[in-house]
């Protein structure tokens, strides 16, 4: 939930210093909600399986920190535990949003450490240690190592090559030149063997599978160039290509590494979600004792205890207690629903002010949440079919290069008196010169620049091809609650209410965390809660004693207001009533307001030729009203998740490329099904995983920024392809004619790579534009 920093701090009653910290936290506005202090405490049984014991007797645990948003959270979390006795290590990883703890079990236990972090308002979820050593993390480290070796070799071989080139023009003797060549060979050959492995492996796998990828010509060029140079060195020849082969690997590895880093973000987000699903529930045993059980082992008929403020772990019926359940993530409804004995509750929703006992009616696999996740996974498979631009280019490029090289070899053999070795030399030169150095950098360089630019504005791009897909989008489909609106009510009729009554009501409301009470409180800044004895009645409202008089603030019926009374016909609006002795019942009307720049952003999108639609799970009349306010012509209310997908599929069938913007659990399948998808940072976890792009803050302007950046990134990628091909157009005839020397190859290769990279950097030159 997005809050205003000072407001949160005041409500949670924390010190002024912490309030300042909260304000400095997250410039984009997605603040750590300090008010969420009711987070459940992790018990030892919850993380017993994830705990890792080391040989030196210490224990370690890695946890996902759910609401870690910004750099100053590092300090907040680490300082919460760092002086605890027995703690050996506490380190926050901002990229993966994880906290690694290591402690001495003889001195301390994990529980107080976790409690200290949780007390600062962070939600912790233990992470399975096996996930830490994923294949892709290892691949990343291997690429970095290969890049370091290739970089070292490229720099040193190039040093020697420059000496040789100037020697060729000057007076270097053949003996010295051969010595230089041998030293180059001794550096380059092991480096090629080591740093080239990622390419060789991939090329081999492609060839075994009977198809061709970019790595095949790369591997061929590198191996042939190194082999030919070695034979030239043995013969004491002048032309060796050691520098070209290692430099090629170096440039290509840079491109690969950038690409992998982009994908790494999506990976860690997905892993964090898996950890979330594995959290435990507290069950009530037949003898009345409480114990913790993993979700997967819950069965229908068991009774689960849900504390106030906890997330409900599983579908079931309330068997004891009354409370209010925040179903906004599931249905898009912005107001908590009162529940009592016999009411159904669903996994993933948030329990409000009262403790509940729930009789389980479904297993973890059959719960509504699991159903939504399945729907989402099914929809996601469709998106995997998208072929990235670079791969599409590679499909044409790789065979073309091979044909060209083979043609050069045959041509020289047939039409000249050159021996076959000479013809082979020219063919290899063609392979080297066409090697897609610039092509390999063309896409990642632009994407890294674009993603970096967006990240600075609080927009997180999760998958590498997200920007490519976003650039092609021609339709935006919005969810309502929490996406177009803030998902939190605002008092509408403050001006019509007696200020004294308003102040009293706000003072009472200050004692509750109910969304409407908080909205009322926000509407009257500077009210103190002093001198009031307030009691909260879950599902009904608040009762208070003021100067000996009883007051009630809450639901219509509870405040004794007759449905038929004047000015009080129920019209479906969100409302609170204030009643008491000698007071005419007063009505407070609330409305979920649109995000501050919603109208401007919708107009801005439409100006860019984008069709805008609104699909909501909320009631049709509310949706119609908002659509009208925002100038959206196509809208639909009462949409269930499957219906949203159906609409998206209908649009796709018409050849439209849609971007879905949504935040709720009920939007997750639609987010996964859409061609591209965006989510605000306070969306449900499942939705954040499904979305390609996550934006922070209260404003919708990031949508326009993301779209513009994606479109400009696409233009730059196409320009880069043009530059890379243009360079080939000049260099290839030279190579085919057999005129390429190692010097020309090195200059052409590095200059084209630099030009392409410099062009990508242009993305950051233009100032950001925000809709007025």
């Amino acid at each position: 939930m997005v809050e205003i920093g000072a407001d949160v701090a005041a409500e949670a009653g924390v010190s002024a210093k912490d309030a300042k910290a909260a304000l400095s936290c997250c410039p984009a506005g997605a603040l750590v909600d300090l008010a969420l202090e009711v987070e459940p405490q992790l018990k030892a049984a919850d993380f017993a399986e994830q705990l890792r014991r080391h040989n030196d007797g210490s224990c370690s645990l890695t946890l996902v920190v759910q609401n870690l948003h910004c750099p100053s959270c590092i300090r907040t979390i680490e300082s919460a535990v760092e002086n605890r006795p027995g703690l050996l290590k506490a380190r926050v990883n901002l990229s993966t949003r994880r906290l690694a703890l290591q402690w001495d079990p003889a001195i301390t236990d994990a529980e107080p450490l976790l409690a200290a972090v949780a007390a600062r308002g962070y939600r912790l979820v233990p992470l399975d240690p096996e996930q830490l050593e994923s294949a892709e993390a290892q691949e990343g480290r291997e690429l970095l190592r290969a890049m370091a070796v290739a970089g070292f070799a490229a720099a040193n071989v190039m040093l020697l090559s420059v000496a040789v080139w100037s020697g060729l023009a000057g007076d270097m003797g053949p003996a010295t030149r051969t010595l230089m060549h041998w030293i180059s060979a001794m550096i380059a050959l092991p480096a090629v063997a080591y740093a080239g492995r990622p390419f060789f492996r991939s090329a081999l796998a492609a060839l075994r599978g009977g198809h061709m990828n970019m790595d095949v010509p790369i591997s061929l060029a590198v191996i042939l160039a190194a082999g030919m140079s070695l034979s030239e060195t043995l013969r004491g020849g002048e032309q060796v290509f050691f520098d070209a082969s290692v430099m090629l690997l170096f440039f290509l590895l840079i491109g690969r590494f950038l690409d992998l880093r982009l994908r790494g973000r999506a990976r860690s987000a997905a892993e964090n979600l898996t950890a979330l699903k594995a959290t435990a529930a507290t069950i009530v045993a037949p003898d009345g004792s409480l114990r913790s059980l993993p979700l997967a082992r819950l069965e229908p008929g068991m009774t689960v205890a849900v504390a106030a403020g906890e997330r409900i772990p599983i579908d079931g019926k309330v068997s004891l207690g009354r409370s209010e359940v925040d179903t906004s993530l599931l249905t898009g409804e912005s107001l908590p629903r009162p529940v009592s004995l016999g009411n159904e509750v669903y996994a993933g929703t948030l329990n409000g002010g009262g403790a509940l006992r729930i009789a389980v009616t479904a297993t973890a696999e059959t719960s509504l949440l699991a159903e939504i996740v399945r729907l989402m996974e099914a929809a996601e498979q469709g998106r995997d079919r998208y072929v990235r631009l670079a791969d599409r280019v590679a499909r044409i490029y790789a065979p073309a290069v091979h044909l060209l090289a083979a043609g050069t070899f045959a041509g020289w053999l047939i039409f000249s008196s050159l021996p076959w070795q000479g013809a082979l030399l020219h063919a290899i030169a063609v392979l080297i010169i066409t090697c897609p150095c610039a092509l390999g950098l063309a896409v990642p360089a632009v994407q890294v620049a674009a993603v970096g630019r967006l990240l600075k504005q609080g927009i997180l791009v999760k998958s590498a091809d997200a920007l490519e897909r976003l650039a092609a989008v021609d339709t935006f489909v919005f969810d309502k609650t929490g996406t177009l609106t803030l998902g939190r009510p605002v008092l509408l009729n403050a001006a019509a209410i007696d200020p004294k009554l308003l102040e009293v009501a706000a003072a009472i409301a200050g004692h509750s965390r109910h969304p409407l009470a908080r909205a009322l409180r926000r509407a009257v800044p500077g009210t103190s809660n002093a001198d009031l004895v307030v009691q909260e009645h879950a599902g009904d409202g608040l009762s208070a004693l003021l100067d000996g008089k009883a007051l009630r603030l809450g639901r219509r019926a509870w405040c004794g207001v007759d449905d038929a009374s004047e000015a009080a016909t129920p019209d479906g609006a969100m409302e609170l009533w204030l009643s008491g002795e000698n007071i005419i019942p007063e009505r407070f009307v609330f409305r979920d307001t649109p995000r501050p720049d919603a109208v401007a952003v919708i107009a801005e999108l439409q100006r860019r030729g984008i069709a805008v639609e609104l699909l909501s799970g909320d009631r049709s009349d509310v949706v119609a009203q908002l659509a009208d306010d925002l100038g959206i012509e196509v809208w639909r209310g009462d949409c269930r998740p499957a219906e949203k997908i159906a609409r998206l599929e209908a649009l796709a069938a018409k050849g439209r490329k849609t971007a879905m913007v949504g935040d709720g659990l009920n939007d997750a399948p639609a987010l996964a099904a859409a061609f591209a998808s965006l989510s605000p940072a306070d969306a449900a976890d499942v939705s954040q995983v499904a979305a390609d792009v996550i934006f922070q803050g209260e404003r919708l302007a990031p949508l326009v920024e993301a779209l513009d950046t994606a479109r400009r990134a696409k233009r730059l990628v196409l320009q880069n392809f043009g530059l890379a091909f243009g360079y080939n157009l000049i260099a290839v005839p030279i190579a085919v004619a057999g005129l390429v020397t190692p010097l020309i190859a090195a200059v052409a290769m590095s200059s084209s790579s630099i030009v392409v990279t410099a062009n990508a950097m242009r993305l950051n030159l233009k100032n950001r534009k925000t809709p007025s």
Partner: protein, 62 residues
Amino acid sequence: MSALAYLIPIALLLGLLGLAAFLWALKSGQFEDLDGAAHRILLDDDEDDRPPKQDTESLKDP
């Protein structure tokens, strides 16, 4: 040209030193959190006016 006999080994040795330093940094996990590392430099480690420990406890029940 005889200078080459020791200049080239020196150049290679320096390069290898740099490579070894990078590989060590990689192994010791310094490239695990590139975003965090960029910001950590701005955070104060020796802040004296940090809230005392009791503060943490009192936050639990506002």
